[in-house]
């Protein structure tokens, strides 16, 4: 493919994305703004064999841990993971203890963030097993790119990524306990509202807000304006666990569904993804994922973690304190690119305060080697430039577990930055998986 040719379509495709309202919301000074997610036409390209390798490695990383941790807890009993790491995780929910979700699936949709080092090795940076977002963007971008430049897809053999909605619908249908599928959004002021509405449209699910649904006699219902009720069998919720049910979690949540957890416990509705998954995508637990793969599957982990240190362990704490300047420190309770600190960017005073915080709150942080990940070409105002980029791969579990043959490639628009999040000004690319 001649990338120079493709890049001329960036402007045209961004115009189309604007036309289709492909935006995300952001709060600045407590005021909600919607903005376009800048798109770059030059795709990330992953070869067929490379995808086979990634697919195997990604599938290894989802599902087994959650079933164990809310069930038998063998991994704790066998001392693979210290129990305080599990029980002190903000994502661990005691309310889910002993609860088996429909079809035994917890992580229906996993968003796994990877980077590729310059020499080609892929590293997993983090797993997102709660409500990973972003699949809708490459999905609609591909549709629009094909309009802007059809010849590109004649000349290149690219797997079609517009089947994401089919995979998602199959996942929802598989766990559905009887009734319709619904996408549950907190509302238009949510950062990912476009995605909620778009995925509802493309999966044929109903988009519902807090006022539209009710628990009635042990089932969840959508309230029709005529007064009739329609049973919901699978609820793809796009709100966090803590807001989900005011009777079980935050009692002042106005966007939750009272008694949802009661009927979930009875197996009368599937919640996608399952409540309690946060314990598995805790940045502290991430450290143990390769050990989990060995423990549960007796397999060697295919994908590597970025070299990670847990100040919780004395040896790692010593290493972090001695090598602080060359590490990136992450607050395990933060997300979206927030709570990430590069040791070499802090002033002497800031560093002292930070080191003291790490010494006193050892469970709160992880430290990682800074991976000099591969730059990707992007079309900038000045021409083609190179920027840092990551990849969010989506792994969906229904009857089988499959990796979507695409992904969200996010890039930093700032030449000096490793932060690629849209909320911090990043853009996105399509991810091509070659079919030959």
């Amino acid at each position: 493919m001649k990338q120079g040719e493709l890049s001329q379509y960036t402007k045209k495709t961004n115009q189309l994305l604007k036309r289709y309202g492909v935006k995300f919301g952001i709060y600045k000074n407590n005021i909600f703004h919607e903005q376009l997610f800048p798109f770059d036409c030059i795709p990330r390209i992953i070869g067929k064999d490379e995808f086979v390798y990634l697919n195997k490695g990604l599938i290894q990383r989802v599902n087994a841990f959650l079933k164990d941790i809310y069930g038998e807890k063998k991994i704790i009993k066998d001392r693979i993971i210290p129990e305080e790491f599990v029980y002190s995780s903000k994502g661990y929910l005691v309310e889910v203890e002993g609860l088996m979700p429909p079809q035994g699936i917890y992580a229906h949709i996993a968003g796994i963030d990877l980077v590729q080092a310059k020499e080609g090795t892929w590293y997993v940076l983090e797993e997102n097993l709660r409500i990973p977002s972003g699949a809708s963007y490459p999905m609609i971008a591909r549709t629009l790119c094909r309009r802007a430049s059809p010849m590109t897809y004649v000349q290149n053999h690219v797997e079609d990524n517009r089947d994401y909605a089919v995979l998602l619908k199959e996942t929802m249908d598989y766990v559905n306990t009887g009734g319709i599928n619904a996408v549950f959004t907190p509302g238009r002021m949510n950062a990912a509202y476009f995605e909620h509405a778009y995925l509802a449209e493309k999966t044929g699910a109903v988009l519902v807000g807090p006022k539209d649904i009710v628990v009635n006699e042990d089932y969840l219902y959508f309230k029709n304006y005529t007064g009739s009720l329609e049973k919901i069998g699978a609820l793809y919720r796009r709100i966090s666990d803590e807001y989900l049910d005011p009777m079980t979690f935050m009692e002042d949540s106005l966007i939750g569904i009272p008694h949802l957890m009661e009927i979930y416990r009875k197996g009368n509705v599937a919640i996608v993804n399952a409540p309690g998954n946060g314990v598995a995508d805790d940045k502290g637990i991430y450290y143990f994922v390769p050990k989990m793969v060995e423990y549960y599957f007796h397999e060697t982990p295919i994908l590597q973690n970025a070299p990670t240190y847990l100040p919780y362990y004395d040896e790692d704490l010593k290493f972090v304190l001695e090598n602080f300047d060359r590490l990136v420190i992450k607050d395990v309770s933060e997300a979206g690119g927030y709570g990430v600190f590069f040791g070499n960017t802090l002033s002497r005073d800031e560093k002292e305060v930070f080191l003291e915080t790490i010494r006193t709150e050892r469970r709160r942080f992880i430290a990682q080697e800074v991976i000099d990940f591969k730059d990707l070409q992007i079309q900038d105002e000045d021409g083609i430039v190179e920027r840092k980029a990551d990849l969010r791969a989506f792994v969906l579990t229904g009857k089988t577990t499959r990796t979507w043959k695409s992904g969200l490639t996010r890039f930093s628009r700032n030449p000096d930055s490793f932060i690629v999040n849209s909320s911090q000004g990043g853009g996105f690319k399509d991810t091509w998986i070659l079919s030959r």
Binding site: K18, R19, Y20, G21, I140, V183, R188, Y193, F194, A197, Y198, A200, E201, G204, A205, V206, L207, V208, G209, K211, D212, F222, K223, N224, Y225, T226, S228, E230
Partner: protein, 219 residues
């Protein structure tokens, strides 16, 4: 989808009302602007006709703010924004393709810079609103969704025609179209109020203020 929440009914109805308000307003503006070309002060009469407060400093200020000032609640852009706000939450009911025409209408109105060719540029906005409505009719399978939007349009048209003191012929036509939609709709409405409006329109001297009151209380 055969089920619609109460909130969605509200959004559909107001989507119809605001899109009609913008459509009728722009068409009325075209006629008014034609007079303003020679008689700049006609904008004062235009404001009176629309029963909107004349908060404008002069003709130029009126033209800019009435079209593009989103903080002016009577401006065309603010009404289009309200149509858009109601449309935004209906993506999965209307479809991305349909929605895109509303998006383009907003983008085009926001992008108007050249006030010398104002009418030409605003014609595009009208075209996109009509394309939006046509697309809705063509793409949306759910009869009730289409009907509620059209009910909103018809209600708004009668309301705005009364405010503009349109003649009996126009009002009767708007009334018949509204009646047609009310009968097709499954929404509860006040038939008595509608009949009162029809009677008021048939009176030798139309009491516009009273008729507006009853129109606003049909639904």
């Amino acid at each position: 989808m055969d089920i619609i929440s109460l909130d969605k009914v509200n959004n559909l109805l107001w989507l119809g009302r605001y899109s009609e308000r913008v459509y009728v307003t722009i068409r009325e503006f075209f006629a008014g602007y034609d007079q303003m070309i020679e008689h700049h002060d006609f904008y004062i009469q235009y404001c009176r006709n629309f029963q909107i407060p004349n908060i404008y400093r002069n003709f130029d200020d009126f033209i800019y703010r009435y079209i593009k000032d989103a903080t002016d609640e009577n401006s065309i852009i603010s009404n289009l924004d309200r149509a858009y706000d109601n449309c935004m939450v209906l993506r999965n009911d209307l479809g991305s393709e349909t929605m895109s025409y509303m998006e383009v209408a907003v983008n085009n109105l926001e992008a108007i810079q050249d006030f010398d060719s104002l009418i030409m540029e605003m014609q595009d906005v009208v075209d996109y609103i009509l394309a939006f409505l046509a697309c809705l009719d063509d793409n949306v399978q759910n009869y009730e969704i289409r009907n509620i939007v059209k009910l909103g349009k018809r209600l708004e048209r009668l309301d705005i025609y009364l405010r503009l003191r349109k003649d009996r012929e126009d009002l009767t036509k708007a009334c018949i179209m509204l009646d047609h939609r009310l009968k097709k709709s499954n929404l509860p409405y006040n038939r008595e109020n509608f009949i009162t409006v029809r009677k008021l329109i048939e009176e030798p001297e139309i009491d516009y203020v009273k008729a507006i009151f009853f129109v606003e209380n049909i639904l």
